[in-house]
Amino acid sequence: MTPIIEIKHLKTRFFTTDGVVKAVNDVSYSMENGEILGVVGESGCGKSVHALSIMQLIPDPPGKITNGEIIFEGRDLLKLSEKEMRKVRGRDIAMIFQDPMTSLNPVYTVGYQIVEALRLHNDMTKAEARKRAGELLALVGIPGAEERLDDYPHQFSGGMRQRAMIAMGLSCEPKLLIADEPTTALDVTIQAQIVDLVKKLQAELGMAIMWITHDLGVVAEMADRINVMYAGAIIETGKIRNIYKKTKHPYTMGLLGSLPRLDDPPGSELTAVPGLPPDLLALPKGCAFAARCAYRTEKCLAEKPPLVEIDGRDHAVACWHWEAIEGKKTK
């Protein structure tokens, strides 16, 4: 299978008055057609920034992509002009955002906004676009879709707005959909509905999806593969079974250990990953996770571990001691 998108050595920096924030550090991976990739990590680990880098929507200044290649369908997106990039956005790669409360323009009807997105990339009359918009809203499961087209965003609930955003993202049938924490602002039942909806749509339309989240539970349900990010770099990546069952990186173990499980004995405490993520202004020389890691040695502090493949594309980890750690569980 040929990868739909291949990211090589991506580096994104923010040049602030306090110094250079190293938001994305040498990220390389690829996604295949129709694959669902989960990107997990805690706040500020570069998940969203690396997604915005793909879309080239980094606020500039202060942000800048300083290095790397983003090969999408044989073209390097970073070499495209703004005008060509504009055609890629929405038509080939679409993005949905975290906060459905603010991602729809409050002064236009929902229908108008979907129609606009449709007409931007397709040669459609207003009537055709409106009909399609109605179909899209129905597709994402909004009751009375035709009728709701003329509603303003404030007349929609949070879950409905996120559905409308998904409809807008899907409007031009993109090959890659980037979902930036689309369920974080929603309550759990709505989260489950949105996850089911996206899974269903993925099966129907067959696009690749990058699902960015800090919730390992959500991606466990849907993703084929997972990238675990820490301090702007991928520290463990692989097939979902490998990540959950054959965890190699102590940080991933920590993340999994911090989730409640149904088979935990009652009254048992959740383990937390101690400490805070490193300051992206001054990253340590060695492993970025070393300061919080129970298994650290001198080598961890001195040298940065490379992302080594254990099982080909199916599993890779950036840790010096993964062989030693293997089998141990944090709890």
Binding site: E82, T102, S103
Partner: protein, 409 residues
């Protein structure tokens, strides 16, 4: 127990509600406020009476003169002494004050609309672009335009000194060339040297035809321009420069600046409009920019970009409607302000030229007769100014409450 047949249940269209836009909501809030209704009433009365008088009641100020009726007090019925009815009395030339107040309204309305129009158009555009490009990176074409405009604006000075109107175009061309060159060539010092020389050449050589002093001044300015153009300019630079210029304009007292502009342009109502309009530009520019800054970071702007919409579209279709409310309020208040400023200029003899009916000029004409008891000649134009300003201000207050319910106390 009765069986329920699902097919018999009529589905009430619970999902169907009234499609109310924010503007309709705002309108309802506006008319529910008593003071706003009063303001609206005064404004409508003012606009209607002055427009009606202008188009349907002929008035020729130059022929309106009757010394026999000089400074007569207001009367409601005709008598032997005053054969015609003057409900507001007459002024020093025997002119009916009521008539002049009504016709003067047209002038005030015109001043208000034109002056605010000038401020709003230029100030609004400046604010929109400054706020937007401060946060969003310019595309290549936009950067070329920025370089061209920078060259052009810098060239206005040399064109003025050497009286050669083609110079701004030369410097604009240098700017565009610099934009291309900057992308290709890395060496900073050489770049600066090349363009300083080029700038000096295109300005100084034509200026030599005028005089050597002009050539020297133009050459220095041209070199500075070239050096500036050799640097990477971006939206932040544009925003900084233009907003500091706005700050400078704003640091002058408004009336003083308006008087200075009128003195430069010469008296007359039209010149007054321009002066008042120019003085108002920074207010709108700053207001618009601050509103843009608060909206441009919102996720729906990012979403619009991620769908692939262009900058022009985002500015005018997504940003503008979302920042309209503070601007509408400011515009309404600004109308009151412009009417007041026009009256002030008229009072000082810098606005409307005499027989033309204008409230400020009428006050200026008549205040000397106050001591001899002719209170009516001052009271009624004064009242007209006060009421129209009050009307616009009340309406503006009402609009502010209606458009931004969060501000309501």
């Amino acid at each position: 127990m009765t069986e329920i047949n699902p097919e018999e249940i009529t589905v009430t269209d619970f999902a169907v509600r009234e499609h109310r836009s924010l503007w309709i909501d705002a309108w309802r809030r506006l008319i529910s406020s008593r003071t706003a209704r009063l303001g609206m009433f005064i404004v409508v009365l003012f606009v209607f009476s002055s427009t009606f008088a202008h188009y349907f009641l002929n008035y020729e100020p130059k022929k309106d003169l009757d010394y026999s009726l000089k400074l007569k007090p207001p009367t409601l019925v005709a008598n032997e002494e005053v054969p015609s009815v003057h409900i507001f009395g007459t002024d020093k030339l025997g002119r009916d004050i009521f008539r002049r107040v009504v016709h003067g309204g047209w002038n005030s309305l015109r001043v208000g609309i034109v002056a605010v129009g000038i401020s709003l158009f230029f100030g609004g555009l400046i604010g929109l672009f400054a706020g937007f490009y401060e946060n969003i990176i310019m595309t290549r074409t936009e950067r070329l335009i920025l370089y061209g405009i920078t060259g052009f604006v810098m060239g206005i000075l040399t064109a003025w000194i050497a009286a050669q109107p083609f110079q701004p175009f030369l410097l604009a061309a240098v700017g565009i060339a610099a934009a291309y060159f900057n992308e290709l060539y890395e060496g900073k010092a050489q770049r600066m040297l090349i363009f300083a020389l080029l700038g000096a050449a295109v300005t100084a050589i034509p200026a030599l035809l005028v005089s050597s002093t002009a050539a020297l001044v133009c050459g220095i300015w041209g070199a500075l321009t070239g050096a500036l153009l050799s640097r990477p300019l971006d939206g932040r630079f544009f925003s900084n420069v233009i907003m500091r210029v706005m700050d400078i304009v704003l640091s002058f007292p408004g009336y003083l600046l308006a008087i200075a502009i009128v003195a430069f342009l010469g008296p007359g109502l039209e010149k007054g409009m321009i002066a008042i309009g120019v003085v108002g530009i920074p207010v709108y520019a700053r207001l618009t920019r601050s509103a843009v800054l608060s909206v441009v970071q919102k996720e729906y702007i990012l979403a619009a970009q991620s769908v692939g919409e262009g900058h022009g579209r985002i500015i005018f279709r997504h940003l503008t409607p979302n920042i309209l409310s503070p601007i509408i309020v400011q515009t309404t208040m600004g109308l009151a302000n412009a009417i007041l400023s026009a009256a002030a200029l008229g009072f000082l003899g810098l606005g409307a030229i005499p027989p033309e009916p204008e409230w400020g000029a009428m006050l200026g004409d008549s205040y000397r007769y106050l001591a001899s008891g002719a209170w009516w000649a001052v009271l009624f134009p004064g009242l007209a100014i006060m009421l129209s300003v009050l009307g616009f201000n009340l309406l503006g207050d009402g609009l502010r409450d209606a458009l931004d319910p969060k501000l309501r106390t």
